[in-house]
Structure formats: structure tokens, C-alpha cells
């Protein structure tokens, strides 16, 4: 990392840490949401950007993490344990699913992952005894003030985002990242050159799943109430992809930049076009795809974006 990038990072980090002192609850909520999506986008990026496998069902892990954590928490266990449990479940599920699905490529992989999220939703909906089914699951209330809660969850999500960022950076700069890069460009050649592609793909998939599950678990605790159609919503699968595409797929900071840019845009759209919200979102997606093939760096300032995105 260059001196400039380091300085910029420190400034941003300081600003983020100080945010609760200067912002109100609404801003904190927005910031927490942005951080959560940044985590999801970075998680997606490991499989979709580095390895080149178009993952369309990260909501499966998000929802699984949300419910795993929520069930443990509402059984009276401490919140940290609930989150840890969610990560463990997400990891195991990712390993098993990875074995099955990573044999598929391209379209088949994409849609299979999409359908998995739907299937999990169906199963969660049906398992009423444990999950509350369609009536949702309420999580025990802390008894803290709204401000205290907002600040708490902001810092928690910030911590998760930081961990995810550091992990992504480590992956990108060592053998795993190199291997994934090879796999993305030419999987057959990667095999020939000595890369155990199955193993590396599963590792990448597991990282994605674990981080997404963690984000889901924290989300559940944060919102206090979850239901299947909320946490398994296909938009949780698609938005992170848009963000990664926007900021620069396959780079370290790209997903983060994309998350910030997207949510800023989303706020504007939401305030002005409430009823057309999804429609306008769709429209922006279409514009992005048709006119900005390399994400934001298509707009110009190529070198700025590339430097910003690849730490």
C-alpha cells in the first residue's frame, strides 16, 4: 500500500470510529446498513470476483446466518455465542454446498445458487416449531436505549467489515488469491499447472458463506424481528453483485466503494421515488450494465479508481 493510501485509510477509519459522536441515529442506521452491504459485497467478491463463479444466492447464507443466530439468541444464550454459532453453521453449509455446486459452471452454478436461497426460504417457512415459519421470529429486547443500540450495532458491523476487508486483502495478496485468479481465467489450465481447483474453490466459497452468515446474524439481532421472505430476499443476493460490479469486481476495495456509491444512490431514489423504488433500481441496473461495463471506472478517472480499488 502506498503512503497516500495508508493516510487515506487512517482518515476514513478515524471518521468512521467517530461517527456516533457526530451523527444522529438515522445516519448511524444508514452507515450500519452500508457496512453490512459492504460485507456482503466483499463476501460475494471472493467467489464471484476472484474465482469468477457467478454466485447468485448469497442470501442463502445471509438468511441461514440470520436464523441460526436468532434461534440461539431467542433461546436465551448470549449474543456473541449466537453469532458464533451462525458463522459455524454458515461455514459447514458452505463446505457441503460447495462440494455439490462447484462442479457446475456458468449459468448452471448461478441459478443453482439462486434456487438454493429459495429452497432455504421454503424450508425455513415450513419448520414452524423452530423458526416461527411465516410469522417470523422475535428476538429478545436488550432493554437499552435506541441510541445505545444504534451505536452498539454500528461498531459491531464496522468490526465485521474491517475483518472482512483485511481477510479479502490477505486472500488477494497470497497463494489463494493467485490460485483463484488462475481459476477464473482458465480453470482447465489451472488444473494442469498444479492447482487443486476443487480445494481452492471450496475455501473461497466457505469464506463467502461465513462472512455472509455473520452479517445475517448481526442483522437479525439488530432488527429484532426476522421472517423468511425478508432475510432470504433475492435482493440480498443481487445488490452485493451490483455493488461489486459498480466499484470494481475482483479488486479489494471495489465492493466497498460500490456499496457506498449504491447506497447513496438508493437513498436518493427511496426519498424521491418510493412507489417506483424497485423499478428505478432496475432501471439503474440496466444503465449500469449497458453503459458502464467496468463499473464506476468507466466514467473516467480510470487510474484513480484502479488505485483506489486495488490496495
Amino acid at each position: 500500500m502506498t503512503r497516500q493510501q495508508l493516510l487515506l485509510t487512517v482518515i476514513i477509519a478515524a471518521a468512521l470510529l467517530a461517527l456516533p459522536l457526530i451523527g444522529n441515529n438515522y445516519m448511524l442506521r444508514l452507515a450500519t446498513t452500508t457496512l453490512m452491504y459492504a460485507v456482503l459485497a466483499m463476501a460475494w467478491n471472493v467467489v464471484g470476483g476472484f474465482a469468477g463463479y457467478p454466485l447468485f444466492g448469497i442470501a442463502a447464507f445471509f438468511g441461514l446466518g440470520a436464523y441460526s443466530g436468532a434461534v440461539v439468541q431467542s433461546s436465551g444464550y448470549p449474543i456473541a455465542l449466537a453469532w458464533l454459532f451462525a458463522v459455524v453453521i454458515g461455514t459447514i453449509f458452505a463446505i457441503v454446498l460447495g462440494f455439490i455446486l462447484l462442479r457446475l459452471r456458468g449459468h448452471a452454478f448461478a441459478i443453482a445458487t439462486l434456487v438454493i436461497a429459495e429452497v432455504l426460504r421454503e424450508l425455513t417457512n415450513g419448520w414452524t416449531d423452530v423458526t416461527g415459519g411465516g410469522m417470523g421470529l422475535n428476538l429478545p429486547f436488550f432493554g437499552w436505549s435506541p441510541t445505545a443500540l444504534a451505536v452498539f450495532f454500528f461498531y459491531v458491523m464496522l468490526a465485521l467489515a474491517a475483518i472482512t476487508l483485511v481477510t479479502t486483502w490477505i486472500v488477494a495478496n497470497n497463494r489463494l488469491g493467485f490460485a483463484l485468479n488462475c481459476i477464473r481465467q482458465n480453470e482447465d489450465a489451472a488444473n494442469i499447472v498444479g492447482i487443486d481447483t476443487t480445494r481452492y474453490k471450496i475455501i473461497a466459497f466457505t469464506l463467502s458463506g461465513a462472512f455472509a452468515a455473520a452479517a445475517g446474524a448481526i442483522y437479525a439481532s439488530w432488527t429484532g424481528y426476522i421472517e423468511p421472505s425478508d432475510v432470504y430476499d433475492v435482493l440480498f443476493s443481487i445488490k452485493p453483485i451490483i455493488m461489486a460490479l459498480l466499484g470494481g469486481m475482483g479488486t479489494v476495495l471495489g465492493p466497498v466503494i460500490g456499496a457506498v456509491a449504491f447506497l447513496a444512490l438508493d437513498e436518493i431514489v427511496w426519498r424521491n421515488f418510493l412507489q417506483l423504488h424497485t423499478g428505478v433500481l432496475g432501471f439503474l441496473i440496466v444503465v449500469l450494465i449497458l453503459f458502464l461495463p467496468s463499473g464506476l471506472s468507466s466514467i473516467g478517472l480510470h487510474r484513480f479508481w484502479r488505485k483506489a480499488a486495488s490496495a
Partner: protein, 249 residues
């Protein structure tokens, strides 16, 4: 002593088509062996089977006495059997040196990325590509791409190198350079199997030539004898020409 590589009655069918039928051969250390045959004879398929890209339908492949026919390509590479591709397959978005680093890091098992880079630079120097190290691989001309294939193969630290049509598309001067490089590689103690369909190239380079035709091994002789083998002549030039040769003899 056990042969370096041994194929015993290896066969491979795709659907109803017999691509390789009952091929048996042995490779000793330090040999340069030519593998020739008309188009469609099964040469590339045989290489694919040895390197684990396609499984053999039956038969055994022994490497230093150990069976390898069930192993995956990355495991076979790690054991020291490398190959180049006829249609060059680089990692397009990576630089030349990164392409070579891949083999060094994974097949040859170098743990540190810096060390892998150093090893890669050595291999690039050996193949004459050092100046192009940081160029994107897809920008190389065909002759240089073939050299990149060689460098990638060497980076895997092989003791057996299977070269699949390294000369396809090269002009005479480039072919000469390629052959010189191959001799230099052999001089390092690496056994080489070179697939060619130009007889001329192979006789100049190889001590021994194996001939495939319709998936079957029809000759496995010292170079000088092979070109006079009537079955080989028939395979390449047709039966009438072969008959004429027979009559003359």
C-alpha cells in the same frame, strides 16, 4: 530398475469411438522420444490420459512404479509430469512472469510468492523471454507464446515433459530455435516426449520414435528404423505407396 513411466494396455473410448486401444510403452530417464502419427491417431488423447485430463477406460499407467491413472491433473503435475498444449493456453489477464509463477507455486510447490517469482524469472531467462516478463501474456506473438508454454512447463519442475506440437505454426527459423531449446532442456536431465507430425523434425531430435495410428501403437523403434517400417509408411502415405516400398526392398 523401474522405468520412469510405463503404460500397460491403456485404452480409452469416447462413447463408441475407440480413441486409444491397447497402448503399452515404457519411458526411461534421459530419453527424447518422438510420438508421431497422422492426424486423429490419438497422440493428444494419449497425452491427455497420461496427464489425467481424461481417465483411461482400461489399463495401467505407472510412474516410477506407482499407478497414476486415477489421479487428477493437479496431482500428476505435482509428481513431475508436465505438458504443453498444442493450442497455447495462457492465463490471458496475467503477465508473462505471473503465468510462469503459477507452475512454480503450485506444481513445483514453492511456498513463497517472491521465491516463485525468482524461479519464474530464471525459467524465462532460459527460454529467452526475460525481457517480456511484465507484458500481458496475450500480447505475445505465436512463437513467443510457444516459448511461454515451455517456460510454464519447466517451472513445474518436471522430470518428464510432454510437448504437444510445439512447432505448429512456426516458420523454419523459429522451429530451429525451438529445437535448440528442447535439446537444452533434455541436457538438464528431463525426459521428453515430443508429439509431432513432421517426421523430419522428429528424426533429427529423437533417439526413439513411437508411432500411433487409429489409436494403436504400430511402431516403437530407434529413429533410423522407423522411417523404413512399412506399416508406418502405409499409415502416412497409404497402402499402395507402402506396397511399392515393399517391392523395392
Amino acid at each position: 530398475m523401474t522405468a520412469l513411466l510405463q503404460l500397460k494396455n491403456v485404452s480409452r473410448s469416447f462413447g463408441g469411438v475407440r480413441a486409444i486401444h491397447n497402448v503399452s510403452l515404457t519411458l526411461e530417464p534421459g530419453q527424447i522420444v518422438g510420438l508421431i502419427g497422422p492426424n486423429g491417431a490419438g497422440k493428444s488423447t494419449l497425452v491427455n490420459i497420461i496427464t489425467g485430463v481424461h481417465p483411461a477406460s482400461s489399463g495401467e499407467i505407472l510412474h516410477k512404479g506407482e499407478p497414476i491413472q486415477r489421479l487428477k491433473p493437479f496431482q500428476i503435475s505435482a509428481r513431475g509430469i508436465a505438458r504443453t498444449f498444442q493450442v497455447v493456453q495462457p492465463f490471458p489477464a496475467m503477465t508473462v512472469v505471473e503465468n510462469v509463477m503459477a507452475g512454480a507455486m503450485f506444481a513445483a510447490g514453492i511456498a513463497s510468492m517472491d521465491e516463485a517469482r525468482r524461479a519464474a524469472m530464471e525459467h524465462l531467462a532460459f527460454t529467452g523471454l526475460a525481457d517480456h516478463a511484465d507484458r500481458p501474456a496475450e500480447q505475445l506473438t505465436l512463437a513467443y507464446r510457444k516459448r511461454l508454454e515451455l517456460a510454464k512447463g519447466l517451472a513445474m519442475n518436471p522430470h518428464i515433459l510432454l510437448l504437444d506440437e510445439v512447432n505448429a505454426g512456426l516458420n523454419t527459423a523459429e522451429v530451429e530455435q525451438a529445437l535448440a531449446l528442447i535439446r537444452a532442456i533434455a541436457a538438464r536431465g528431463i525426459s521428453i516426449v515430443i508429439i509431432e507430425h513432421l517426421l523430419k523434425v522428429v528424426t533429427g531430435l529423437c533417439s526413439r520414435i513411437i508411432v500411433l495410428h487409429h489409436g494403436e501403437l504400430i511402431a516403437d523403434d530407434p529413429a533410423a528404423d522407423v522411417i523404413r517400417d512399412p506399416r508406418v509408411i502405409e499409415a502416412y502415405l497409404g497402402s499402395r505407396f507402402a506396397e511399392r516400398q515393399m517391392v523395392r526392398q
